[in-house]
């Protein structure tokens, strides 16, 4: 699926930065979707591209709140989206325990449904939809940086 902005010409291709925070609760997935729709309106990125971004951030956010915190307290996960010329950069930061989702092996997809082990699919989808993913642990924070060339 391509990510070509449908209404941008060269002059419009300026940089856009958008930041927001979500609480560590699955109900925030709807808020994530609303933020990305707003980002889509501002940048003119296609609906297909916004959906790809949504799925990737959803998978990583869901991973973080499932494995990244050892207590039941409310935590904040910070998102920054940058569109600069033809490079889309997505950054996710949290203050949870060190957790690198890239250490998870990609699931082997067997030939038959009956042999499918249902797990690890989220990060597999992110790897397929994005061009680059990096993990850093700095100043007590997990930082994931995703890039997509559009």
């Amino acid at each position: 699926m391509t990510c070509t902005p449908f209404s941008l010409n060269a002059a419009d291709m300026q940089s856009h930065k958008y930041s927001f925070e979500l609480k560590s609760d699955l109900s925030e997935l709807e808020t994530l979707c609303q933020h990305l729709n707003k980002f889509g309106q501002v940048t003119g990125l296609s609906e297909a591209c916004i959906t790809d971004i949504n799925i990737c951030l959803d998978e990583l956010f869901t991973n973080t709140i499932s494995y990244g915190f050892e207590d039941d307290l409310e935590h904040i996960i910070r998102f920054t989206i940058n569109l600069d010329n033809k490079v889309l950069t997505l950054i996710i930061e949290d203050e949870g325990i060190p957790f690198n989702p890239l250490e998870k092996k990609d699931p082997e997809i067997p030939a038959d449904l009956i042999d499918v082990r249902i797990g690890g699919l989220g990060i597999h989808i992110v790897r397929k939809l994005m061009d680059d993913i990096r993990y850093e642990r700095k100043h007590g924070k997990n930082k994931l940086t995703l890039k997509k060339f559009i």
């Binding site: 699926m1 699955l26 109900s27 997935l29 709807e30 979707c33 297909a48 959906t51 949504n54 799925i55 959803d58 998978e59 869901t62 499932s66 997809i109 030939a111 038959d112 449904l113 009956i114 499918v116 249902i118 797990g119 699919l121 989220g122 597999h124 989808i125 397929k128 939809l129």
Partner: protein
């Protein structure tokens, strides 16, 4: 997210509407498992009104599909939007589960 089901010619049709993600997956899983208790061996998912699917939701659909295969039955998906198809495709499942454009085609496939 909303789930409805009906049976036509011994084929169970489950329609999922709205967003199927990690937040809505537990309730979807419970609802679908209940409908599968009815000894069904032919299952068609109508995904034409499914607006959003993430891996949490994909697991629910795959879980039900696996259960039907375990019963040596048949399962198919119908009406996938481009985005939903992409999720099945990048996960490698389009080769494992028959995907039909319309519910009618899905019913025909499962009846044979």
């Amino acid at each position: 997210m909303e789930i409805t089901h009906r049976v036509e010619n011994e084929i169970l049709m489950i329609a999922i509407k709205g967003r199927l993600d990690a937040a809505t997956a537990p309730i979807a899983d419970e609802t679908i498992k209940k409908t599968l208790e009815e000894n069904t061996s032919r299952l068609l998912f109508d995904l034409s009104a499914l607006e959003y699917l993430s891996s949490g939701g994909l697991r629910v659909i795959l879980g039900a599909a696996k259960e039907i295969r375990r019963r040596e039955g048949k399962v198919a998906l119908a009406g996938l939007t481009q985005y939903v198809y992409e999720i099945f495709d990048v996960s490698g499942f389009t080769a494992m589960i028959p995907i039909k454009e319309t519910v009618e085609e899905g019913l025909k496939d499962l009846a044979s």
